[in-house]
């Protein structure tokens, strides 16, 4: 397919761009295969807006006489308005945008066409390989092994080719366990807690069904992670009720009788359309410009967004608590093990592992626990808060995770190497990007699409010093401790950086941030100066002494 076929009017002049808190600008609008480009072309103050078509969540058009207006709502929650003279031009442009923003073939997406303008220092596709991770693990324990059982994605389509499993369990047993778990997602290692050797594993639900099927190998596998005489915890991210209902569909949960060494705790993390509805309601509340406090608070409450945040964080804290405080191993799963499970396992690692609070460590976490673990990004992030499609598979699971990270960051502002902007950047790229990182639903699909060969990795771009400096937290001081966030409602806030980003001017907050950076930077320079002076003085004194000795 040629993009040109979809673009009947590639360019329109005298278009007026409206954005909140900016003066309207007149300029030229151009459509390309992947971008909507607006340029003011003014000599004194040229302004350009580049918008990826894939970032467009929905568009609306209105006409007053021959003046058409297109309102574009983006997946990053921004809303812009374009006034386009000429009804035909406007209709053409609107239909082009509609078509280009809803391309159904992945290979037509921008990452397959994007050519980077920067020098690639490090290929992000190779930055976080499972073998490297496993090497780190091997240096502290020999109880685990890398299994290549899934090399051709033949055992579990949503798992990566290699997974970490207990050494004592062979591939033959794994195959049997895979038959017993939803989507073949057998329990694999998610995190090893160096401090006490306890582990967190994740999987999908066991397929016990109504007649309580069991699988000896499954029991053996997860028992292999227990210390003699110790019990472990299974954190089921579903309520007991939901878990019980799952049995009717062949799913279920681990019964006490068959897993006597495990204690099951049910948490209640919502899924799918409930989360998408929540996002839609929240964004609608944030965009409501009426000046009524009661309405705002009741809409905020009714969106349930912060309720979800609290639930997810609580479950993650519980998992972390079992591992660090109880000295117990943990298995986390929900139904498929691709959504709430990953929220819990990844957040627990941020609480427990200081490495995950560094930039590289966090990237590695996202790669391990989200991309390789098979969170279906392409489905979940197909649409955002303005979508009308209401597809069951769309859900802001990853955004909720990022929001939870932000909540912890807000409570421990000095313990993270990255700042809020880093999280916002990941949110944007998960929904629309020039990079291939978040394309596809799992490693299997990514490998079929040959993403590493055909597209650029987000990490190749981010991990260059020019970009990194934007994402560094000036307050960071490595903190090797476990960090326990508060989950009291008073401690959780609306993530303004995402949800109010386009609804209020940020000038004064940006200035405060700048000021903070300056204070810290100045101190560091001063410190460096003092150190240098002191060294100089010391050298001079030594010289003097040597001369005296001569």
């Amino acid at each position: 397919m040629e993009f040109a076929e979809l673009i009947k009017t590639p360019r329109a002049d005298n278009v007026v761009l409206h954005r909140p808190f900016y003066l309207a600008v007149e300029g030229t609008l151009c459509l390309t295969g992947h971008h909507l480009i607006f340029s003011s072309r003014r000599q004194d103050n040229a302004e350009e807006l580049w918008l990826l078509h894939s970032n467009i969540d929905s568009i609306e058009k209105r006409f007053v006489g021959s003046l058409g207006t297109i309102i574009i709502k983006c997946k990053d929650l921004r809303i812009i308005q374009l006034d386009i003279p000429g009804m035909e031009e406007c209709l053409n442009i609107a239909s082009s945008i509609e078509a280009l923003s809803t391309l159904d073939s992945v290979t037509l997406m921008y990452p397959f066409f994007y050519r980077p303008m920067f020098e690639i220092v490090e290929d992000g596709w190779r930055s976080f390989l499972p073998d490297q991770e496993f090497e780190l693990l091997s240096s502290v324990t020999d109880e685990w092994r890398l299994s290549c059982i899934n090399k051709e994605f033949s055992v579990c389509p949503s798992y990566p080719p290699v997974v970490v499993v207990p050494k004592s369990i062979d591939d033959e047993a794994l195959r049997k366990v895979a038959m017993f778990r939803h989507g073949s997602r057998f329990p694999v290692l998610s995190y090893y807690h160096k401090k006490n050797g306890m582990v967190m594993m994740r999987s999908s639900q066991p397929l016990t069904g109504t007649n309580g099927r069991r699988c000896k190998e499954d029991e053996k596998l997860i028992n292999a992670t227990l210390r003699p005489g110790k019990r472990g915890y299974i954190i089921d991210t579903r309520s007991l009720n939901v878990a019980q209902q799952a049995r009717a569909k062949g799913g279920g949960f681990e019964q006490e009788a068959h897993y006597p060494q495990w204690r099951r705790i049910h948490k209640c993390i919502e899924r799918f359309n409930i989360l998408q509805e929540s996002l839609i309601k929240l964004v609608e509340a944030c965009n409501d410009q009426s000046h009524n406090m009661d309405r705002w608070l009741s809409k905020l409450e009714a969106s349930n967004w912060l309720t979800h945040i609290k639930e997810i964080l609580t479950a993650a804290c519980l998992a972390a608590q079992c591992i660090d405080r109880e000295g117990a191993s943990v298995l986390v799963h929900g139904t498929e093990g691709t959504d709430s499970t990953l929220q819990v396992t990844s957040l627990a690692q941020i609480i427990l592992d200081p490495r995950c609070r560094t930039i590289r460590g966090f990237e590695s976490l996202v790669v391990r626990e989200w991309l390789q673990a098979g969170h279906p990004f392409q489905q979940r992030c197909a649409q955002s808060a303005y979508s009308n499609s209401k597809q069951k598979w769309e859900a802001p699971v990853f955004l909720l995770f990022l929001d939870c990270v932000w909540q912890i960051l807000r409570q421990f502002p000095c313990s993270f190497e990255f700042n809020e902007q880093f999280l916002i950047m990941l949110f944007e790229h998960a929904y629309a990007s020039q990079f291939g990182t978040f394309l596809g639903n799992n490693e299997n699909e990514r490998s079929k699409l040959k993403l590493p060969q055909k597209t650029m990795s987000l990490w190749s771009w981010v991990n260059r010093s020019e970009e990194l400096s934007k994402f560094q937290n000036p307050l960071f001081e490595a903190n090797s401790l476990v960090i326990w966030p508060s989950v009291a409602p008073q401690s959780l806030q609306l993530w303004e950086g995402v949800f109010l980003r386009w609804n209020r001017p940020s000038k004064f907050l940006d200035e405060a941030h700048e000021e903070m950076i300056n204070i810290i930077k100045y101190n560091k320079e001063l410190q460096a100066k003092v150190n240098a002076l002191r060294r100089q003085l010391a050298e001079m004194e030594t010289d003097d002494r040597m001369q005296e000795n001569l």
Binding site: R231, R263, I265, C286, Q289, H291, M293, D294, R295, W296, L297, S298, E301, N304, T307, I309, T314, A315, C317, L318, Q321, R325, E326, Q411, F412, P413, E477, N479, L481, V482, I483, W484, P485, S486, A488, P489, Q490, S491, L492, L494, N503, P505, F508, E511, A512, E515, M516, I519, N523, K524, E525, L526, Q527, A528, K529, V530, N531, L533, R535, M540
Partner: protein
């Protein structure tokens, strides 16, 4: 020392209502001024001090297995839940506290016995620190249009106003006196703030005694004089901060609001801020929400909404913004009143000044603002704060709301205030503490009768001494920002956890950016001294600084000064301990305490070294390539 204690009770538990940890066990003492609780179970001596004046309510709760509970609510939102072993003891503490927390005579207030051991001269200098005349001078008053008059020197015009007030020159004594007879309690229109940029003024008064049809020529002349003092505008606003319905109801009592037909060129406007009773109830509801034991998000947000608190805060802010806009953008003077003109009027006028004038966002300026709009103009602190045993219906968080509005502004404009949140909390504490004379009584005359200046101390010098910890490190200086235009959309207002859940430390961020930046500021001063000292020692300097030195500059002083309060809380939500396989809740606490101690050791360890030493340590570490133990 023990003779100071009026009462001493052993074996008292202090429950922590937020975390599920084991209750502390210790001794409770009552002194003439404080309740002191000493935790004996902790390895580090931990004391909780509660000023008797801060106690709002004391309740005896039904007997529990642990003993006799005594619940104390403080005016600074501290909630202390004690459990006392013996009923007799509990009752004795209860009755003593009732008496001690509600003095009958003003002379019994702490300020009259508080003795910071400063000289008489210093005390006097302290009281002279804030001179309102200087502030009027700053506004350019007296000038052609405005004068400072002592027409009220014997409180003949208005006994709740100060002796000196600012009125239009054109309003002669007859007009002033005439107008005072037409205003509730004689509170005539006087100047609150003059915006030098365009001569528009903010004036304040009480409601007119207009009833359904009464009018007063002098009052009309007074308003005309105010309007004409701003020749740049053909009209002035008259703002009634009450809801229209309330104002109309007042007409039946011979009070009410200005009839636009009787006054030349006024634009009359209602801004519906609710009365003191609504505000008191609203705060009560808010506090109930804050005190809920493990509420769900929904419980909390619904409770927050139902309390109406943020709606009221927004109403006050909206009114302040309206005033500031009228003055700055429309260049029109504004006359503001409510009923008596000492609650809502004080809130709105002081907020507008704060928005218009960066001076009021400095330490000194904020003190001036409070002295001027609240203390001098007769906000009835004594009644609103319940300093003395009195009518509980007079108590209302009017000043608290003002303080919160300032905090909300700080959230939106983090670089525009010289002071930080703690300054607000300190002031709020002392409005209730009665430790200083500033907020005693209800008006200037009463404080004069109490001989406040001779018998008590002023709060302001005390706060200025603590300036280093109360300053805002992000402040960009007096000239960086002029007028502020806050966003008043509902989402711009946040729940102020630092005020209403201030004593629930577990809810606050575990690392404090403010502390971090403040320690940067003090470190900066030391480093600058160091640098100049070293530069003097070195005869010459050349070449660029070695770049590797940068990596040595991360001296973790900031973090060491602020140990994290960081332990897991109840994440299971259910009262039954789910994690009870062999490990009791108490054991969890032990481990957390160990962690805490480890951290404290760490910070002590680091504190042992002077900053210079710390640098040396890092230097030597860098040379040897491995850490050294000290």
């Amino acid at each position: 020392f023990h003779t100071f204690f009026m009462l001493q009770v052993e074996n008292v538990k202090l429950l922590d209502r937020y975390t599920n940890r084991k209750a502390a066990n210790g001794t409770l003492y009552l002194t003439a001024t404080h309740l002191i609780y000493v935790d004996a179970s902790a390895e580090v001596r931990k004391e909780t001090w509660i000023l008797h004046h801060h106690i709002a309510t004391v309740e005896k709760l039904p007997l529990t297995t642990a003993g006799y509970p005594l619940l104390i609510h403080c005016k600074n939102f501290h909630v202390a839940h004690f459990v006392i072993g013996q009923e007799r003891d509990c009752h004795e503490v209860y009755t003593s506290l009732l008496k001690l927390s509600q003095p009958v005579k003003p002379e019994e207030l702490y300020a009259f016995s508080y003795n910071p051991k400063t000289s008489k001269e210093n005390r006097e200098i302290g009281w002279k620190l804030i001179d309102l005349k200087v502030d009027y001078q700053r506004m350019g008053i007296p000038n052609n249009y405005w004068e400072i008059t002592d027409v009220n020197k014997d409180y003949e015009v208005c006994n709740t106003y100060p002796p000196e007030i600012v009125v239009p020159r054109a309003a002669n004594k007859a007009v002033v006196v005439g107008s005072s007879r037409f205003r509730s309690r004689g509170r005539i229109p006087v100047l609150s703030y003059l915006y030098k940029g365009n001569n528009a003024a903010i004036c304040r008064c009480s409601q007119p005694l207009s009833g359904f049809s009464a009018r007063c020529l002098e009052d009309e002349q007074m308003l005309q004089a105010i309007r004409e003092a701003n020749p740049g505008s053909p009209f002035m606003y008259v703002v009634d901060t009450r809801p229209k319905l309330n104002a109309m109801a007042n007409r039946a009592a011979g009070k009410g609001y200005e009839n636009e037909d009787n006054y030349d060129n006024i634009r009359f406007k209602f801004i519906g801020i609710e009365n003191i009773h609504v505000m008191r109830n609203s705060l009560q509801k808010l506090l109930e929400v804050c005190e809920m034991k493990s509420p769900s998000m929904s419980d909390f947000l619904t409770g927050l909404e139902n309390s109406g608190w943020l709606r009221h805060i927004k109403a006050v802010m909206d009114a302040g913004v309206f005033l500031a806009k009228a003055v700055k953008d429309e260049k029109a003077s504004v006359l503001v009143h409510c009923s008596d003109g000492w609650d809502r009027t004080a809130q709105v006028c002081s907020l507008a000044s704060l928005l218009l004038d960066p001076f009021y966002r400095t330490f000194k300026g904020f003190m001036v603002l409070i002295e001027k709009e609240w203390i001098a103009m007769g906000h009835k602190f004594s009644h609103r704060c319940g300093h003395l045993d009195g009518d509980p219906k007079e108590v209302s968080p009017v000043f608290t709301q003002f303080v919160e509005c300032v905090w909300q502004l700080m959230q939106q404009f983090p670089c525009t205030f010289e002071f930080n949140e703690r300054f607000l909390l300190e002031i709020h504490d002392h409005v209730y503490s009665c430790q200083f004379g500033n907020f005693l009584g209800t008006c200037h005359k009463e404080r004069e009768d109490l001989k406040i200046c001779e018998k008590t101390h002023s709060l302001w010098p005390f706060l200025l001494q603590k300036k280093q910890e109360l300053r805002n490190p992000l402040y960009r200086g007096f000239t960086a920002y002029k007028e502020l235009q806050p966003n008043t959309l509902p989402f711009s207002f946040q729940f102020w956890c630092g005020m209403y859940n201030r004593f629930d430390k577990g809810m606050h961020p575990k690392q404090c950016v403010l502390d971090h930046l403040l320690s940067c500021m003090s470190q900066k001063m030391k480093l600058e001294d160091n640098a100049s000292e070293l530069e003097n020692k070195l005869p010459f300097l050349d070449g660029p600084l070695p770049s590797e030195a940068c990596s040595l500059s991360k001296v973790g002083r900031a973090a060491s000064k602020t140990p994290m309060l960081n332990t897991p809380q109840d994440y299971e939500g259910e009262p039954t301990p789910v994690l009870s396989n062999g490990t009791s809740a108490g054991d969890i606490d032990v481990t957390s305490d160990v962690d805490q101690k480890y951290k404290e050791n760490l910070s002590h360890h680091r504190d042992l070294h002077d900053l210079n030493d710390a640098i040396d340590v890092l230097d030597s570490e860098a040379k040897d390539g491995k850490p050294q133990h000290h």
